[in-house]
């Protein structure tokens, strides 16, 4: 039952939340196995933040049951809070406290045994030993993110909930951040991380895609792509803009998405897609190749589906 017994770190069923008459999270089932990194994806306003907040006891769910680290997430929020590190979307440490003061505050609030020592270690790990007196508000986006992560690791949580941790952070810092996350997972920590970046999604062990409050797909990256049920051609050459407009109007083509110098043309029905594309494939100025749909193709497809369901 407890995480140490090898059960999933998060296991919730029928999770729902409404604000007024707007359903923000609608009957979501979510299982995150221990020691894995689960990517949580979906468009803005799809309910990712609300789901994460419900998991760590910041919001009361309207419906749903299940466990977080073996504790009932509806009634044992205190137990869960002690064992979860939550990194908010917006920087939520005190900008008018120094780096050290922030970390020591967090360490003390969690009753960490030797707060000073724990903070010293964290600062060393961050490479911030020389800037401990600097105010958190004066840090750049990347350093703020590192500080926030260090703060939610101080009490050695078993589960990390990261809400778009790398928004507005440069690629190098993002890469280092993900290396760190993988290191933590290798030591047995479970991570649920929401993101909009495809490269980050591909770094996760498993993915969950949510749109308009509904969970639309779950599994490894290939599984999620599979669930989208797309068949995709990539086309490059001249006049792609005009081609895109032309193709979008055709029946049997569900998605036309530009990717750099090429277009991804996808359809759910393989036969229909082949028939419709046949005349175009003979054109000299275009180079066609059959590809496996990318994760992004799959997500755009899910987003369309979600919209269709929603309307």
């Amino acid at each position: 039952m407890n995480i140490d017994a090898g059960g999933p770190a998060i296991e919730v069923r029928g999770l729902s939340k409404r604000f007024g008459d707007k359903i923000v999270v609608d009957n979501v089932d979510l299982v995150v196995p221990s020691g894995r990194i689960m990517g949580f994806l979906g468009p803005n306003g799809s309910g990712k933040t609300t789901t994460i907040r419900m998991l760590c006891g910041l919001l009361r769910p309207d419906a749903g049951e299940g466990t977080c680290l073996g504790f009932d997430f509806r009634t044992q929020a205190r137990e869960i809070k002690l064992r979860v590190g939550y990194m908010t979307q917006r920087f939520s440490l005190y900008e008018d406290l120094s780096i050290r003061e922030n970390l020591e505050f967090v360490a003390r609030v969690y009753n960490v045994a030797h707060p000073r020592k724990a903070v010293d270690q964290a600062l060393e790990g961050l490479g911030l030993e020389t800037r401990t007196a600097q105010l958190a508000g004066a840090l750049s986006g990347g350093w703020k993110q590192r500080l926030a992560l260090a703060a939610c690791l101080l009490h050695e949580p078993k589960l990390l909930l990261l809400d778009e941790p790398t928004a507005g952070v440069d690629p190098k810092a993002r890469r280092e951040f993900w290396d760190h996350i993988h290191l933590l997972a290798a030591r047995g920590m479970t991570v649920l991380v929401s993101t909009h970046y495809m490269d980050e999604a591909e770094r996760c062990h498993a993915l969950a895609y949510i749109a308009y409050g509904k969970l639309l797909a779950e599994g490894t990256a290939p599984e999620v792509i599979q669930q989208a049920g797309l068949h995709t051609w990539s086309v490059s050459g001249d006049g792609l803009n005009a081609l895109a407009i032309e193709l979008r109007a055709l029946p049997g083509i569900d998605m036309v998405v530009p990717f750099g110098a090429s277009l991804h043309v996808s359809g759910v029905d393989e036969n229909k897609l082949e028939t419709v594309l046949a005349p175009y494939r003979t054109r000299d100025e275009l180079a066609w190749s059959r590809i496996t749909p990318s994760l992004e193709d799959a997500f755009i497809r899910f987003m369309q589906q979600g919209q269709d369901n929603f309307q």
Partner: protein, 380 residues
């Protein structure tokens, strides 16, 4: 410069339109802009009266005679006095003054009418609670004129010769507690209550709202910290600051203004705990309602304005109409003013200030319940 980049009416209108839209969105600010003039109009127009009348008065009649009755009715006819206590001994009258039950205590001495008839110019003793000189000065003036007019009806026939100047009797006025009528004696201790209300309410309201506005509340709520820990942790520093403020005011009151300090300062600091707690609870309640620091400031101001106007700090409490006095009784400042003036100027003891302590305690209790029931451990 204007020539090359002229004033554009369209751009000006764009800014103007945006301002009006934003003004409409911020309901509380809008309510303030309408509410404050209304509040001030009502308070200044109807509640505040710098010429207080119908002041509660105790009378001790040692000479039951026609003349005494005439004098008492003349006092009441002047509209400045409302005789609501007839006492039998001087101790009783003094107690009423000391506890602030009455503003005046009038003693009509034995053989008053006999001495008057003999032309011996008897003395009427009027003791006034002069802690607030503004509350008593007009009444005292009216009283001094009474000895010319009070007995016009009675001094007829053989007594008519006394109906002329000089007055037939003397009114001796004892301005108790503040004999020289020094306004500072009244204002400076009162200022203690005003300063505390202002800082305590505003600071607590801001300290919680700031967390919400800056987004740090989310992080705080995600930690195992409990509401009571947050509340007490945030409140204690302001209690300390409150006492520092009191200390500064007391020192300055003593050395700069020479305000008398008759009562026990220990008693004052105990009463202060209740008063500070009540104000902090108000601030905390506001912080659970306000969504940003500006709103918290506005709420604090909305509490502060009637507090200061209806408490008797700026204008005599007894000058206000009944409804305004009833509203005024709600505010902790009203009762604290009686406590601090009572202790410093009148030397009130614990038993004498107790009637003013429990209304503050009650206020605190109600506010604390509201604050705790509104405080959310979640972001809902």
């Amino acid at each position: 410069m204007m020539g090359s980049y002229p004033f554009s009416l369209a751009r000006f209108m764009a800014v103007l339109r945006k301002e009006f839209v934003q003004m409409r969105r911020d309901r509380l600010t809008f309510a303030m802009m309408i509410g404050v003039p209304l509040l001030q109009l009502v308070l200044f127009g109807f509640a505040i009266n710098s010429d207080p009348k119908s002041l509660p008065t105790a009378v001790q009649v040692e000479d039951a005679s026609e003349l005494s009755r005439s004098f008492i009715s003349a006092m009441q006819n002047s509209t400045y006095f409302r005789i609501d206590h007839i006492v039998n001994d001087h101790t009783e009258g003094n107690r009423l003054l000391q506890e602030g039950e009455v503003q005046f205590f009038v003693t009509i001495p034995q053989n008053f009418s006999r001495d008057l008839a003999r032309g011996e110019h008897p003395t009427l003793l009027v003791e006034a609670d002069a802690t607030d000189p503004a509350a008593t000065s007009n009444a005292i003036t009216a009283l001094q004129n009474l000895n010319y007019s009070a007995f016009q009806h009675d001094l007829r026939g053989p007594l008519s010769r006394f109906a002329t100047v000089p007055p037939p009797f003397e009114v001796r006025i004892h301005r108790r507690y503040n004999p020289e009528g020094i306004t500072q004696y009244n204002i400076v201790p009162g200022l203690m209550g005003v300063v505390l209300t202002m800082t305590m309410v505003m600071m607590t309201a801001l300290s919680v709202t700031r967390e919400r506005e800056r987004g740090t509340m989310e992080n705080l709520l995600a930690t195992p910290v409990r509401p009571l820990e947050v509340m007490s942790g945030k409140i204690v520093p302001y209690i300390v600051i409150g006492y520092v403020q009191v200390l500064i005011i007391l020192v300055l009151a003593k050395w700069l203004f020479g305000v008398p300090m008759l009562g026990s300062l220990t008693l004052l600091s105990i009463a202060l705990i209740v008063y500070i707690a009540a104000n902090l609870a108000v601030g905390f309640t506001f912080s659970t309602i306000a969504t940003n620091q500006l709103q918290a400031m506005q709420m604090a101001f909305f509490f502060f304005l009637p507090s200061i106007l209806l408490s008797g700090f700026m204008f005599p409490f007894r000058g206000m109409p009944q409804w305004a006095q009833m509203v005024g009784e709600i505010f902790p400042l009203t009762h604290f003013l009686r406590i601090v003036r009572g202790i410093l100027l009148k030397g009130n003891n614990a038993a004498e200030i107790l009637p003013h302590v429990w209304p503050i305690a009650l206020f605190f209790l109600v506010m604390a319940i509201v604050a705790l029931s509104r405080y959310r451990e979640t972001l809902d």
